[in-house]
Each structure stands twice: as C-alpha cells, then as structure tokens.
C-alpha cells in the first residue's frame, strides 16, 4: 500500500555553506582511495570509499643463532624493525547535502591514485545530483537499487560490527542496550521508515522480499506536521513533539470510559482515538501537543503494522531504520513503546548504530563485488569513527544538525577471517566482557579516569620506542590529543561505540596508537625483558625439577601467577613503588613477588591438583599474556610439565602487538631459543606436540568469538607442519583444556565464559580498585578451575560478580 521513497530534496533547509571544512580530517587518505560509492538522501549525503592505508608495523627477526647459545651471542635475542604494511580500509562519511559541491571539489583535487571510472550511487537524490557528480569527478554515475543497497549494508554491519544493534530504553540508566553479536543474523525484518514505510523480510545474503509497507511514515509526520504547526523542519517538529502533551488532543480510553476498559485490559491512558478531541471548531490546540499526538499516531501505527508482519512471517528480530528513526531518541522511544505494546513485550524493537550508512555501504559493496569484500572480516576502527552522536532531545536542533554535519565510520580489513572458538559452550549467549561500563557508572568513571591518568606514561613509552625518529614526539602528542578526546567523548556518550568495556578502552588506545604510527610502544621493553628472563630459564627449570611432584605442581602455578605480576601494562606495576622490581628484573626477585597466601580470592587449586593426579589431558590450549618473565619463567615451565605428562599444548598468542603482551612473532623466536636449551620443549616442537598459533587478536583482552581461522604461523623450525587452522587444530587435537592467563583475558574478559571442556583461568589482580571491588587486596589471586556441567569435578571457583 506504500513504499519507501525518500524525502524531496527541495524540502531540506539551506545550510550555511561557508563553514570551513577541515577536509583532511574528514576525507582521510583520499589520495589512496580506490573506489567510490555515494548515497544521496533527502537531506544527507553518504560517501563511501575504499583506500589502502600504509602504516608501520613492528616486526621481530631472530639473529642467527646457529652458534651454541652459551657462546658468543649478539646483544639481543632478536632485532626489531619497523616495516611498512599496506592494509585495506573502508571510509564512510556523512554530511549535509548542502556541502555536496564543496565536498566533490575537494575530492576531485585530491584524487590521484584511483583507477576507477565509475561511482556507484543510490538514494532518492542520486538522480538529482548525477550530472553534478559526473561533471565534478569525471566518474560515470552507476545507479543501484535503493532497497538492495540498504539490505546489503544492513547484512554487512550486522555481521562485522560488534554491538551494532541496540534496544532503546528511554528511562534506563543507559539508554542504549547493545545486543551481543549473533553470528547467525538471518532471518530478520527491516522496517525502513522514510517518507513512507517499507517492510522487508531478509532471509539470506541474497534473498530478501518487500513483504509490505505503509503510506503513513516519516513524510506523513513531516507533511501533516508542517500543515498543523506551520513548522517546516523535521527536526523542529520532533523538538515540538518532545515538549507536547498528547492527551489534550487525543481521546484516551479514560475519556470514553472514565477509567480503564477493564474487561479488555485496556488501560485508561491508552489512546482510543488519535486527534479525537480536536473534532471541534471552537478550541485551540498548541503546536507541541498536536506534534506529540501526530508522533504517537504515526509511531503506533508503524509499530502495529510491523508487529502484524512479524507475526505473519514468524520473525522475532525487527530492525528499524530510515530518516524517521536515525538517531532520534523521540522516535526510537515511541516505536519501542509501540512494539512493546503490540507484542506484549515478546518482540523488541532493534536499532542500528550505523543505520544512516547502510545505503552507502551497500552501494559500495555492489561496486566491489569482484573484490569479494564479504569474504573478509572487517573491524570498526575506533580512532577514525565518530561513534553514535549524542542524541539528547534537549539539544537545539540546529546544534544537532551541526554536530552531525560530518560523521565518519572507518573499517579496517582484518587479515584473517574470524570465527568462534569451537570450545564455547554457547556462542550465541557468550559475552566476552565481564563488566559493561555503559551500565556501571562507578566502574566507568574509575576506568576512564584510570586510562586518562595512564596517558602520560603511554605517550612517553611511545616516544621512547622510536628513539631514531625525531618527529615521534609530535606524533605522540597527536596521539595524546586524539585518545584524550575519545575518552572525553566516552565520558559524555559511553554508548558511542557500543557497550563500553575495559576491552574497548584498550582497543581504542591501540587504534589511536596505530593511527599515529606507534605500532608497538613496548617493543624495546619486551625485547629487554625477554633477554633477561631467558637467562634464568634453565636455572628455573632446574630448581623446579628438584621439587617433589606435589611441591612442583604448586610451584608451577605460583610461577605462572608470579610471572603474571610482571606487567608493564598494569597500573600498580608501573607505579614508582613497584618500579625497582619491574625495572631490574632479577630471578631472585621473581620469588619474592608479593603474592597473597592461599586460600586465594578464588581458589580451586585443590581441585586442580586432584585433577592432575588423574590421566593427562589430551590437548591444552593456552592463551598467554605478557612477554618476559611471564611467558619465559612462568608459562614455559608450566607448558613443559604439561608436555611431560603427555598433553599436547597449543600456545595462542596475539597476532599483533598490544601493551607488553607477547606476540606470535616474538613467541616463535623465544620458543626456538628455549628449545635449544630444553630437550622437552625441543621434542615437543619436533614431534608436533607443541604448537604456536595466533589468537587473531591485537588486544590485551580476548574475544573468543573472534579467533583466527586461518593460522599462517610460519614456524622457524617446522613451518609446514604448523601451518594449520586454529579452529581445526582445536577440533583435530580434541582439546580438552583451555588455559587463560592474565587480567585482560581472564578477568576483564572471559571471567564468566563457559567452555565445553575443562578450563583454567589464572590471574593476579594488579589494580587496587578492581581488587577492592572483588573484595580482595592488591595482588589477590584468581585461580579458577572449572569443569563443564555434566562432567566430573564440579566448578569450584566462585566469587561474586565484579
């Protein structure tokens, strides 16, 4: 009965075109842009392009160690070099149509490398601006179907962006409740509220159908609203509506019944007849009240139809988009209310963070089909993306329009495709993060403060990591500004990038560091620590071997925990009082680490020990943490013991650098060196019982849904045999134990992760605030050994939620 048409562009107001653009901030990396797409709507233009980004990566390369280790050795175990790497990035920019000419001019001036002759275009305005685009850019405009683009874009963001979809709750502490990414996105219903409404059922990547619609949509609100209130702009109408009282215009159930209609369970406040009270010639109604009544009328109507279609097609995921919704809390609230009412809470209205970009993303993907962009995974780059803007209804509409004038989204192509770790008990309910800072205000304040406090140190370390580059200080300063700005944004809008978590704060910092070419600020520190720790390896192993079996098991666990205290990323450890320890790492200090005595804060060591007395595990997957003492003197002896027991070990380390975490590249060199000193490790590698794989992550935290699928670990010793797929390795080797080490991976994330096999989570709490919150002291120990329900040895570690 209706369709999804866009708004007339001649209805959009004229904006001040003289605002100076900071174009290099907006059209980033344009000189390397390869391919374009554009989506021109009623008032906003969305430009998409693909570029190649050159940035520095830190690589480690082993020195030639063919000579025996104890003989003449080079100053360092390995050398660090900075290399240029080219990665792919998607850029999406949203701006007012008023800027379109200025923007096209800028693009034209900076377009040097593009080979493309075509620009994909969609949206109602594509036709109107076709000639302008072709003339300015010299590219042929190739129009794509609007709905197809919209759906393609929607599939793309749902698949690639964590926390893309959210539920809106006006009166909740945090208005946005983000949904966990479900790898299975189909089927769903997309209700696109443009000037009319289109209701589309999406069943798979290529299969979608417009199952219905309505002519009562955003255009009705705008058109009828303009007639009733003499207010011309859509935003202003919403503003009016947010201040109005609809009960003076609408006839409510209580106006007819005097109260509720109890027999049918209809409450008195329910609207019986929209505008039912305005059927009189002798009464004036305020603009605000009429706008509010109109908003309710239209939102309820759309919600009702959406529910009827959802019911008919048996769909429970219903996403809403279109200019009527686009970030407007007022309409998100009324639609949410309507859906809740008509489905009695069974269906939740879902909204998308990047809803405004769907058409542009889809048009871009249409044009890039030969590059097969869907075969890759893409990640939102927090450094280059604006995030969800503040949508407070109190904000002046002009201000809103301005603040949203240029909005950006950047996505980096991940080098590998990421999949779920097969050992997750229930991937659809898995939430990596232990605390959602969006909902926990005290924790949010603490962590934001903490990251801001640590910023000076990070800047210093970043500069120190590049002693040969004089302009590093300037770049580091830019990094500081960018990250501080991000923190400030997050303080105001914690929901800007989805649920705020310690992980996302860390990731944002990494993205910002990379943005300014500081790929690995800890590289030098890691190098030094690794060198020193290696010197003590044999001594450590020897002293462990002198212990009785039971003493040894405890010493091994204690070793992993003590090693984990050596952490340059942790606040307490980098504090002055602790500096001597960290600074002059010495083997004897390793034993004097101020670990708390048993019983630990979470302590299932006894159960673990009991388990060790039983048959060996088939294969253990070990997610490791820091370089230096941690990996070499803590983890490796533990691994050695597992190998000796007959357990195969898969060591998973970060693909890219993050803080002082050991990277896969570094770990390969370290393992090779250790193998040269230790026959157990050497045999493990040789016999393929010890495997090094990448975790796919460049974060100090760990999301088990995003574990690398293609493992291109090129081992120096046995390259061909180790080239395996992690997910496959885990299956093939029948992994029956997962060990997760460190605060980032075992406490900030995965603390509650339920695995389908035995798991061991070990960490030392190196943050006094967190320790406090967990009811322990600084350096409290978490030792959580769990056996999935249904298997022997029930879960023993228990402590209340962080």
């Amino acid at each position: 009965m209706a369709e999804c048409g866009r708004v007339d562009s001649n209805t959009s107001h004229t904006m001040d075109k003289s605002i100076t653009l900071p174009p290099d901030e907006i059209f980033r990396n344009l000189e390397n842009a390869k391919r374009f797409a554009i989506d021109i709507g009623g008032s906003l233009t969305k430009l998409a392009y693909y570029s190649t980004v050159q940035h520095k990566v830190a690589k480690v390369r082993s020195f030639d160690h063919t000579a025996k280790y104890s003989d003449i050795s080079p100053p360092y175990l390995y050398e660090i070099s900075m290399q240029e790497e080219v990665t792919a990035r998607l850029h999406f920019i949203k701006f007012e149509n008023a800027y379109i000419e200025t923007c096209l001019d800028f693009i034209k001036d900076h377009l040097v490398n593009t080979e493309t002759k075509v620009i994909k275009a969609t949206g109602g305005g594509a036709h109107k601006f076709k000639e302008l685009i072709e003339r300015k850019l010299g590219l042929k405009v190739d129009k794509e179907d609007e709905m197809t683009c919209l759906i393609k874009g929607c599939n793309f963001v749902l698949r690639n962006i964590p926390h893309e979809a959210f539920v809106y709750a006006k009166h909740a502490d945090s208005e946005f409740r983000f949904q966990t990414t479900n790898p299975d996105i189909f089927p769903y219903l997309l209700v696109n509220i443009g000037s009319g409404v289109s209701i589309v059922k999406v069943e798979s990547e290529d299969k979608f159908e417009r199952i219905g619609g309505s002519s009562i949509g955003g255009g009705t609100f705008w058109g009828l609203g303009a007639l009733l209130t003499k207010t011309k702009r859509f935003d202003e109408l919403l503003q009016l509506a947010s201040k109005g009282q609809h009960a003076s215009v609408d006839m409510l159930v209580k106006d007819i019944y005097g109260g509720s209609y109890g027999y049918l369970g209809l409450t008195g406040d329910l609207i019986a007849s929209s505008f039912g009270k305005s059927a009189t010639a002798d009464k004036e109604f305020s603009k605000e009240d009429m706008a509010k009544s109109l908003l309710h009328m239209i939102s309820n109507d759309i919600g009702q139809l959406a529910c009827l279609y959802a019911k008919l097609h048996n769909l429970s995921r219903v996403y809403f988009g279109g200019f009527f919704i686009r970030g407007h809390p007022v309409t998100m609230h009324t639609i949410t209310y309507s859906i809740n009412f008509f489905t009695k809470g069974e269906v939740q209205a879902l909204f998308l963070r990047h809803e405004g970009y769907l058409g542009a993303i889809g048009a871009f993907l249409k044009g890039a089909e030969e590059d097969n962009p869907n075969q890759y995974s893409w990640g939102e780059n927090y450094a280059g993306s604006s995030g969800l803007m503040s949508v407070s209804p109190d904000m002046n509409p002009m201000q809103r329009a301005r603040s949203g004038t240029f909005d950006m989204l950047e996505m980096d192509r991940l080098e590998r495709q990421l999949v779920n770790l097969p050992l997750l008990q229930d991937p659809s309910s898995y939430i990596p993060d232990t605390v959602d800072l969006t909902e926990d205000a005290p924790a949010r304040e603490y962590w934001l403060y903490c990251f801001e406090e640590a910023l000076d140190g990070v800047v210093k370390r970043a500069v120190a990591s590049q002693p040969d580059m004089p302009e590093a200080a300037l770049r580091a300063e830019k990094f500081r500004q960018k990250y501080r700005h991000k923190l400030q944004t997050l303080r105001q809008q914690p929901f800007a990038y989805g649920s705020l978590t310690v992980r996302s704060l860390l990731d944002t910092r990494e993205h910002c560091l990379n943005e300014f070419n500081f790929p690995d600020p800890y590289s030098k520190i890691k190098q030094r620590e690794n060198d020193i720790a290696l010197k003590y390896y044999q001594k450590a192993v020897k002293s462990l071997d002198e212990l009785s079996w039971e003493e040894k098991q405890f010493a091994l666990v204690r070793g992993v925990l003590a090693g984990n205290v050596f952490d340059w990323g942790a606040k307490a450890v980098s504090e002055p009082a602790f500096m001597p320890l960290g600074g002059q790492t010495d083997f004897c200090i390793f034993f004097f680490i101020p670990l708390s005595e048993r019983p630990w804060l979470v302590d299932s060591y006894d159960q673990w020990l009991e388990r060790l007395k039983g048959p060996p595990h088939k294969c253990a997957l070990f997610f490791v943490d820091n370089s230096g003492v941690d990996i070499i003197l803590g983890v490796m002896p533990f691994v050695r013991e597992l190998l000796s027991r007959g357990t195969e070990v898969v060591l998973a380390s970060n693909s890219g650098p993050a803080l002082n975490d050991v990277t896969n590249g570094e770990l390969q060199i370290l393992t090779e060196r250790i193998a040269a000193m230790d026959p157990v490790i050497e045999a493990g590698l040789r016999e393929d019982r010890l495997l090094l794989v990448q975790s796919g992550s460049s974060s100090p935290c760990l999301d088990l849904r995003l574990v690398v699928l293609v493992c291109d670990s090129t081992s120096l010793l046995f390259p061909s045999r180790l080239d395996k797929v992690l997910a496959m390795v885990v299956r093939e080797r029948q992994t029956d134990l997962v060990i997760i080490e460190g605060m980032g991976r075992a406490i900030h994330t995965n603390y509650y992760a339920m695995l389908s096999c035995e798991s061991l989570k070990m960490a030392v709490i190196k943050n006094s605030w967190l320790a406090d919150r967990l009811g322990g002291k600084l350096f409290s120990v978490v030792f959580k050994y769990e056996v999935p329900v249904g298997k022997p040895n029930k879960d023993c570690g228990a402590f209340s939620p962080c």
Binding site: M1, A2, E3, C4, G5, R6, D8, N10, T11, G124, D145, M147, S195, G196, R210, S214, S215, I216, G217, G218, G219, T220, W222, G223, L224, A226, L227, L228, K232, V249, D250, M251, V253, D255, I256, Y257, G258, G259, Y261, L264, A272, S273, S274, F275, G276, S278, A279, T280, A281, D282, F285, M297, N300, D301, Q304, L305, L308, Y309, K311, L312
Partner: protein
C-alpha cells in the same frame, strides 16, 4: 424467557454511549391493546409521542428515519424500531430531558453499553435518578449485528457488498446475507477502531484495534480545514483530490515500482507532498479533507487485511459510524480488500452502521444472556 420479556414494562430502550456519539434504539409498540393504553401512565405516552413524532431533538439529536424497522416482532410484540443519535457532549441535555419528563418514575431498566455507560453512570444517577444496566460493548456489538442481519424485514437487505470494486464505473452495491458467516472479522470503526474475530455467536476475541479511526478523520479535518461536523468534512472530501497532497509511487519512480510490485497510483507517503512549502500553499481544504479520509481509510484497510491473514479469515464485515453516509470510504475499503488480497478477501457492510451496540443493549434488556 419469552414469557418473561412479554411482561417487561415499556419503554424498551437500548443505548450505546461512545466517544463521539450516543446511539439510542427505541422500540415503539404498535400492538397496544385498549386495556394497556388505559393502564399506561402519561409519562410513557409522552415519551413515545415525543420520540416518534419528531425526527430531530434539540439542536443535535437526529432520528435516522431511513433506518427505521417497521412491523418488527420483538418478544412477541409488534412494533417499529427507531434509531436515534446525538453527540456525546450533549448527554447532559439528554439527561435534563429525562429529568423533565420524569423518566425515572417509569421504573424501567436502562440498558447501556459503550464507554460512556461507565463514565456517565453517576451522572445518570445524580441528574436523572436513573440506574444504568451496564453492558460490554463488544458483546452488544456482536449480538446486535447478528440480530439485525437475521430479522425479517420488509425493507432493504441489511448486508451488502460492492460488486466490481476495482472499476469505479461498474462498482455497485449488491445485497447479501450473513449466512454461515464464521469465522468473521468484524471491524468496528467508531472514534477508534476495534477488530474482532468472531467464531460463533458467543465465541469471539478482540484481535487488535487502532486509534486511527473516525475521530481521527474528523479531528484532523477540523484542524486542517476549520470544519466542525462529520457531514461537512465528508462533503469537502468528496470534492477534493488526495493525489495533490499524497506522494504516490509514480511521483518517486515515474511509474510502477516493478521490483516490488507496487503500482504507480499507490500512495507512497500520505501527506508526503506536504513536506514541500510550495505544495502546501497550492492545495485546497477539500484536497486536505480527501487526503485525510483516504489516509485513515487505507490504513484501516491495511491493518484489517493483516489481521485477516494472521487469523486466517476471509470474510470482513465493516461497521461503525465512520461509514455513515461515507460511500467513499466503503468503496475504498472494498477495493483495498480485493486488490491487495488478489480477490481473496471480501468486504461486507451493514445498513445500520453504528447502531449495533445499542441494538445489542436492547436485546440484553429483553433476553438477558
């Protein structure tokens, strides 16, 4: 039961107090014996005379003479059934009249339904010394519909439909009956809309409702055109052109949107053209009234169709006072049902549009369920 009601004292009234209109049905006995006549108190006679000799009451009360059912046998009594309506906001005047005519002295039970039966219960008591027997409006509605369709009457058939709804030149009203009507989707369009699925005489459920109903049409028309009555609004609508106000599929796509099977004439955005200032200035009040009528009607059609699909029902019966003298909307609904369901759905209408609740209330008086 029959015997009981035979001795039920006159007058026999059924009342439905809605959000906008009060609907009153009155049974005028024509078989009064001389003996009865003698016993009849003066008040009763005066009420009968007042109601049957006038066609308008006060400033706003109207008797729909064309709907009157003559020679009806009700509870063994022969007589005429009268249909009277007045705006709900004039209820105080009605109560005053009841008081002046000492209605309460007749010791009759006044069966009333609709929300007003609850809202104004105390007013009836305080102002006219009358006790209301309150009845549920949906129960009454269904009872009234089934009764009026079944009574033998010399007048035109109660139920009808439109033949050739897609062809304006050949679209004609055709009589029919509600034989084997179940399951039936009953859409009552008053100020708001209620949609019921009826499976048998006493088995029904309210499927849903919408607040976009007759009250919305009139309310918006009053705001947009300055009119003040339903008749005025309809008159304007009949002279307007909604396509100047609405944005059609062809306004966006230049023709049909074939990819999704949308014809060019379909409305893409109701009032969509009104986003533009120039177009706002160029439309007439009549155009706006017509667009309002089309918007509300099509929306009801759309929701009805979805309910019919969800409930798996093919017969749709539209009632309610929104359809009074509103052939435009009826034809639109008939067409919408037919077109969008590809002929699967059939829209039926009833002559006594908005009076079924009141009739149901009267029946409740005579045959308490």
């Amino acid at each position: 039961m029959k015997q009981l009601c035979h001795h039920l004292a006159f007058p026999w009234f059924g009342m439905d107090i809605g959000g906008t209109l009060v609907k009153l049905v009155y049974f005028e006995p024509k078989d009064i014996t001389a003996e009865e006549e003698q016993e009849e108190v003066e008040n009763l006679k005066s009420i009968r005379r007042y109601l049957t000799s006038n066609t308008a009451y006060g400033k706003t009360g109207i008797r729909d003479v064309h709907l009157e059912l003559q020679d009806l046998t009700l509870c063994g009594r022969k007589g005429n059934l009268h249909f009277i309506r007045f705006p709900t906001h004039d209820l105080p005047a009605f109560l005053q009249m009841g008081r002046d005519k000492h209605f309460s002295s007749l010791h009759t039970t006044l069966c009333a339904t609709g929300g007003g039966a609850y809202k104004f219960e105390s007013d009836f008591r305080m102002m006219a010394d009358l006790e209301l027997h309150k009845l549920d409006e949906l129960d009454c509605l269904i009872r009234g519909v089934l009764y009026l369709d079944s009574v033998m009457s010399s007048g035109p058939s109660e139920c009808y439909y439109f033949e050739n709804p897609a062809d304006p030149d050949h679209c004609v009203q055709k009589p029919c009956t509600l034989e084997n009507p179940y399951p039936l989707l009953l859409v009552n369009i008053g100020s708001g809309v209620s949609i019921l699925a009826v499976y048998s005489e006493d088995n029904y459920k309210r499927v849903t409702g919408t607040s976009l109903g007759g009250g919305t049409f009139l309310g918006l028309c009053c705001l947009l055109t300055g009119c003040s009555t339903f008749e005025e609004a309809l008159e304007m609508a009949s002279q307007g052109e909604s396509t100047r106000v609405d944005k059609l599929v062809r306004d966006i796509y230049g023709g049909d949107y074939e990819r999704f099977g949308l014809p060019g004439w379909a409305v893409a955005s109701s009032f969509g053209n009104m986003m533009s200032k120039e177009k706002r200035e160029s439309v007439s009040k009549e155009d706006l009234a017509r667009a309002t009528l089309v918007t509300i009607t099509n929306n009801i059609g759309s929701i009805t169709r979805m309910c019919a699909l969800n409930e798996n029902i093919e017969t749709v019966l539209f009632v309610g006072n929104f359809l009074r003298v509103n052939t435009l909307s009826m034809k639109l609904l008939a067409y919408a049902m037919d077109y969008w369901s590809k002929g699967q759905l059939k829209a039926l209408f009833l002559r006594h549009e908005g009076y079924f609740g009141a009739v149901g209330a009267l029946l409740e008086l005579l045959h308490p369920s």
